[in-house]
């Protein structure tokens, strides 16, 4: 199918979100189990449950590729659930296969929202999984297990002894009748020895809905204890208009029960909980489906998932309120008036808007754990294919950053970890001969530092080879000054230039010379920076500095001519007036420098840099602002300081994309309290362009 049923569109988001969460959980369990070289019952159950839910909900959405593969994986784990000992001989091939499947599922799920979505073809994996299942079952596969029914359809014979037939009618227009039928079937599997239905496998085909609506859904089952359990489950299910027991050939033929189970009063979650001995499978399978069907999440849940677009809109709105608030409080009409009560009220308002801003910010904050966990997977895949042994250790996964930032840093992390494993960590033999532990270690350590997050990505590998980097840079014509003048730090920074790659051979994982370049670019996009330190044979540490949030900046407003600039407070070291023109020196090119406590710093005259006409061109008239970015420090010369403001960063309209304002030192603009616009300076590019 290429398009999604319009009625399902609303559920699609929920489906994608839930499936992704579960697949991540799946990866985690798999990694953990693989590391332990064993899988315990609990994990088998969880995997089974996850695949079951993914299968169910994707079938509900009509994605047959996903549900087909989910089904195959579920089959395998169903066998394991019965007897975990069957795992032994197929352990590693099974894990590889399940990892592959999980990747396939993730890829598909990523694509389903695409209007031109074409389903991928999982048949190869499905076949392999079936093959594995057959191996695990031994030569003579046991009779088809009820929950694993999809593969081998049991011949439905309505005339067995002890079988009961129940016909269920669903409420009109409750939708997804086939899935509802499937859910019931699943629940009943718990208290019946054998079970079948007409139509069989309702979950496999959405078109069966029409059939179920017309003829009802016939369940043929053999209750384990007695029929009451079965009836109870049916009664507790949602959206059932009526059910009847079809008496045919048996004893006391209970009178056809016609129960009108009006809207089950219990909320979705409770329905699942009310099941007798609610197996985890049923609960898990039921909850998402019911939640999706009801268009809301469980009643007792304290967490809700919100569309990020809404959060972005909220954030924008708060930004507007902050601006509007200062527009009112410092309105030019009020100038010179003594308004005690008004001032008091605006102060109160200010306090509230500050609080509102904090709360909205905190909503947008997500812990880094998720990003870190994805790295586990990369480490696993790489070590397997490269034949290296590497442990990934993470600290500070609970550190929170803005969602946008969190999304942006995933790629850079992946590149860095790939680089570390591919280039830095030596193969086990080499490590042994160097007296290092056989297993290498990559550590990610995140911590809060003021308004910023610092994240170290370090390895205990070979360290960066200064000579090789220099040689490489020389070959690529990247050196800009004599080699002898390069400090170690500067040499390390060379690896972040576009087109630099120290690995002579391009490997599957890294070595195309885009890695560190992309890392730097991506991080700069969110206002971050990378620095490198390395020691030969001890290892390398990349330290990433990223701002906590993007949207609102504490800035110092400065004026140059009639333009107002905002300089983020975090980059300002100090500001001072020049009292003696001799403080400013000129180098041989005529570039200005300033001598401060024995150190020399370059001077950037903002009016010249931005070609703005101003009267204050004498260094004695204006003000110097010393800014720091990364490792470099420079002094900016401006007309005057206007004071400290909180500004809401707005990107420049895309109209200006081609003019590279970012490189010029402007990161965006903002609307001030009086409605005028200020330009936000980016100390980073101002300083690094010198």
């Amino acid at each position: 199918m290429s398009a999604i049923d319009p009625g399902m569109e609303a559920l699609l988001e929920t489906f994608i979100y839930e499936s992704n969460t579960m697949l991540e959980q799946l990866d985690e369990i798999l990694l953990e189990s693989e590391r332990a070289q064993n899988i315990n019952q609990e994990n088998i159950d969880s995997i089974f449950r996850i695949m079951h839910t993914v299968k169910g909900s994707s079938a509900m959405m009509g994605f047959s590729a996903i549900s087909g593969l989910g089904h195959a994986v579920e089959d395998v784990f169903f066998i394991l659930r019965e007897d975990a000992n069957k795992l032994g001989p197929v352990f590693s091939s099974l894990f590889d296969l399940v990892f592959q499947s999980s990747d396939f599922l993730k890829r598909e799920i990523e694509r389903v929202s695409d209007p031109n979505y074409e389903e991928g073809d999982p048949s190869d994996m499905v076949r392999q999984l079936h093959g594995l299942a057959a191996v695990m079952k031994g030569e003579a596969p046991p009779p088809a297990a009820p929950a694993a029914a999809g593969a081998e359809a049991p011949a439905a014979g309505p005339s067995y002894e002890g079988f009961r037939r129940i016909r269920i009618h669903f409420e009109d227009e409750c939708q997804m009748e086939n899935m509802r039928a499937f859910m019931i079937l699943n629940q009943l599997a718990n208290c019946c020895d054998e079970i079948d239905s007409v139509p069989p496998h309702p979950e496999s085909d959405a078109t069966l809905c029409a059939d179920i609506i017309r003829n009802g859904f016939l369940i043929i089952c053999k209750p384990t204890d007695n029929l009451d359990d079965v009836i109870k489950i049916i009664e507790s299910s949602l959206n059932i208009k009526s059910y009847e027991l079809l008496s045919e050939d048996d004893d006391g033929s209970p009178p056809a029960a016609e129960a009108t189970d009006a809207q089950a009063p219990a909320p979705a979650g409770e329905g699942a909980a009310a099941l007798p001995a609610a197996g985890a499978v049923q609960a898990a399978a039921k909850a998402p489906a019911a939640a999706a069907a009801a268009g809301g999440s469980g009643a007792r849940q304290n967490l809700i998932s919100v569309n990020q677009i809404k959060l972005d809109a909220l954030m924008d709105l708060v930004g507007e309120i902050v601006t509007a608030e200062s527009m009112v409080a410092s309105n030019p009409d009020l100038r010179g008036l003594k308004l005690d009560n008004f001032t008091k009220s605006t102060r109160e308002l200010r306090k509230l808007t500050d609080e509102l801003q904090d709360v909205v910010m905190s909503i947008r904050m997500v812990p880094l754990t998720g990003t870190f966990q994805k790295m586990n997977r990369i480490v696993r895949d790489m070590t397997k294919s490269l034949g290296k042994k590497v442990d990934l250790v993470t600290y500070g996964g609970d550190t929170e950053v803005d969602k946008t930032i969190n999304d942006t840093i995933g790629d850079p992390f992946m590149h860095m970890i790939r680089n570390s494993i591919d280039h830095a960590i030596e193969p086990p033999e080499v490590r042994m001969s160097l007296g290092k532990p056989e297993t290498g270690q990559v550590t990610i350590n995140a911590r809060n530092a003021g308004g910023e997050i610092l994240i170290d990505v370090s390895d205990d590998g070979s360290g960066l080879d200064v000579d090789r980097i220099l040689a490489k840079a020389r070959n690529n014509g990247m050196l800009t000054k004599p080699e002898s003048e390069y400090t170690d730090k500067e040499i390390f920074n060379l690896i972040m230039l576009p087109g630099f790659s120290t690995n002579t051979e391009v490997t599957e994982y890294s070595g195309r010379g885009v890695g560190m370049d992309v890392v730097k670019k991506n991080l700069e996009k969110v206002g971050g920076a990378v620095s490198i330190s390395s020691e030969k044979n001890k290892g390398t540490t990349f330290t990433i500095k990223i701002p906590l949030t993007l949207a609102i900046v504490d800035g110092m407003n400065i004026s140059v001519g009639d333009t107002t600039f905002t300089l983020p407070i975090t980059s300002i070291k100090q500001s001072f007036k020049i009292t003696d023109p001799k403080q400013v020196l000129h180098d041989t090119d005529g570039a200005e420098m300033i001598l401060l406590r024995g150190d020399c710093y370059p001077v950037v005259r903002l009016h010249e840099h931005f070609m703005i006409s101003t009267e204050k061109t004498d260094v004695m008239d204006g003000i110097m602002i010393q800014v720091e970015s990364g490792n470099s420090i420079a002094c900016l010369f401006a007309d005057e300081l206007l004071g400290e403001y909180q500004v809401v960063v707005k990107p420049f309209p895309s109209f200006f994309n081609k003019y590279n304002l970012k490189e010029l030192g402007l990161s965006g603009c903002s609307i001030l309290g009086d409605g005028s616009i200020c330009l936000i300076l980016d100390a980073n590019s101002l300083v690094s362009n010198l």
């Binding site: 507007e320 840099h609 931005f610 304002l661 010029l664 603009c669």
Partner: protein, 161 residues
Amino acid sequence: MDETNVNAVQDDLTGRYLTFDIDDTTYSLPLNHVIEIIGIQHITHIPNVPHYIKGIINLRGKIVPISDVRLKFGLEERDYDDKTCIVIVLINDMNVGVIVDRVAEVVSLERSNMAPPPLSDKRLGDSFLDSISTLNEKVVMNIDVVKFFQADMAELLAPEE
């Protein structure tokens, strides 16, 4: 359903043009591209952009780039007065303001009365004109909005980096 609605609105506006004057020449913009007309206001200069891009303004909390039609047409700069207007134009889902000397009126122009522009008019650079019409004995130059912003927007159509 939405589509027909949009079409209906567009149908309503096609053939309607906003005319404005620069020096003694009358130009027009198709009305379905025009969002609103505002008086001239303080424009924040942006460095390192072509001289005809005057900068950005704050339009009710939105940052809107402003380009000066006079300068874009290679005419001399002229001091803004109380007749000077900014016409906010919608193109590619983006608002862009253009500064004109004076907004005249909204007129209906018949497609059949439009003559194609001369192939190349050096004074106008790469022709921005869609066609030329006459209205009450006066010549009206109909600007093709897409062509007008072609040079500025080309980048947006190309992929990033």
